[in-house]
Amino acid sequence: MRELSNTACIVGVDESDEIGILPHTSQLSLHLQAITNAVRDAGLKVKDVDGIFTAGQHSPSLLGEALGVTPRYVDGTTVGGCSFIMMVGHAVAALHHGLCDVAVVSHGESGRSGVGVTRSRDTSLSGQFEIPYGFAGAPTYFGMITTRHMHEFGTTLEQWAQVAVSTRKWAALNPKARNRDPITVQDVLNSRPVCYPFNLLNICLVTDAGGAVVLTRADRARDCAKKPVYVRGAGEATEHVMVTQMRDLTFSEATRLSGEKAFTMAGVDRKDFNHIMLYDAFTSGPPIMLESLGFAKRGEGVHFFEEGRSTPGGSLPINTNGGGLSYTHTGMYGIFPIIESTRQLRGECGARQVPNCRLSLVNGMGGMLSAAGTLVLATER
């Protein structure tokens, strides 16, 4: 993987025209808006796209058809919300080997309004072994990981709440974030109980949105409209799907493996990062990811948040777009942290800009820490 480092760049990123609650926009349109916006951001044309990468309900071939292009490379890896993060790594490899020249990674999901959505997948395992007991929806699975973490390490509800408070501070600085009013630990603890150990403010939003990321080889990237962002490292792994099958309920082996691969490919150490994006479907997710990635000892990931390191002005800003908790979360959130890291590295973030942002980490999960994708992004090679 080392030879792939810095061979390709992110040259275009954007969301769909609007994000939020969009009953007037189909899922397919969210894709097409995001792709056209991101291609424009790169200074390229839709017809330049010859590699299409997407996860979820739409196949890459459908996006090609709708766009009126004939991709010569496609990837439909669907392992949850981190699929898009993994696909950036896949795109780097495909570009390096000349399998395509302009790759677009696209996400569109009408997660809130369900416009143009049909659900069809094999549910025989959850249907037999989980649904009859009342399991339904991500909170009823991720809570198992969270309760066990509290038992093993003494983590408290107050500590998880700090993650929501820190993330909301960033959302207040992002005009695109859905929830921007400041909150306190007490607000989180007093919010409506959904599924212990989670109250409403421990859980991500449910929205409609699209997002897309455009990549090309580094030699060509220098001719694009914006300052290129180098993909210095990429990693991925999957461990389980059913939470009962997770080997260690409080540690993500997939995340550890994915991070190690990305850090090794990039030739960087954890202390080198000055910006981090972590998939925050739940407040307990980012601390457990920091532990699994080796940034914190087991049980100590929450310290990053309660000590204020993660907040505006802190030494290691985390989830600067306002996260899935406060900015937007469609269901498969993974495209959005890539967009935010790219904007931070370009210096486009206005009030929430991290000063001198040069090296950024993106780490996402699929399912319940079931899959992981990691990127090391940089302003320079």
Binding site: Q128, Y133, G134, F135, T140, M144, H151, C195, Y196
Partner: protein, 144 residues
């Protein structure tokens, strides 16, 4: 009873490889798949051993005892077909034989001050229909 009158969604679709599990429950037995080559006992049922990849899989009867590995307390129904009145306890149980499975913890107040991870639990059988019985769990020694 028609599914609409049941308190819980029926397990479905029941897959052929899981039939011995569901057949056992109907007779008040918690059956688990066990590899006949390496001896690994696992759950959910599948046609090969996830430890050694052998396809020689047999079945054993579980003691029905284990520990509450983790839990949640659901305060709102997230599935219309699940009609047990909230709050109720969602449970991940680790059986003595090793495997973990999802279930409900019953016979105890749905209160995080009373429920703790690693507390000993034992199976109770909840008959849903003539065809389907579910394994639920209660604190070992009875509960209230």
């Amino acid at each position: 009873m028609s599914p609409a009158e049941l308190e819980r969604p029926l397990p479905q679709p029941i897959t052929p490889e899981a039939k011995p599990y569901w057949d056992g429950l109907r007779e008040g037995k918690l059956m688990l798949p066990k590899c006949q080559d390496c001896g690994h006992c696992f759950f959910y049922p599948r046609i090969l051993c996830p430890r050694c990849s052998s396809r020689r899989i047999g079945w054993i009867q579980s003691s029905g005892r284990g520990r509450l590995f983790s839990f949640e307390i659901s305060h709102q129904p997230l599935n219309k077909a699940f009609k047990v009145k909230p709050p109720y306890v969602l449970a991940m149980v680790e059986l003595e034989e090793g495997p973990r499975l999802m279930s409900n913890l019953v016979g105890i107040a749905p209160d995080p001050k009373q429920i703790t991870c690693d507390m000993p639990v034992e199976v109770v059988y909840e008959k849903l229909t003539d065809e389907v019985t579910l394994p639920l769990f209660r604190p070992a020694g009875g509960g209230r």
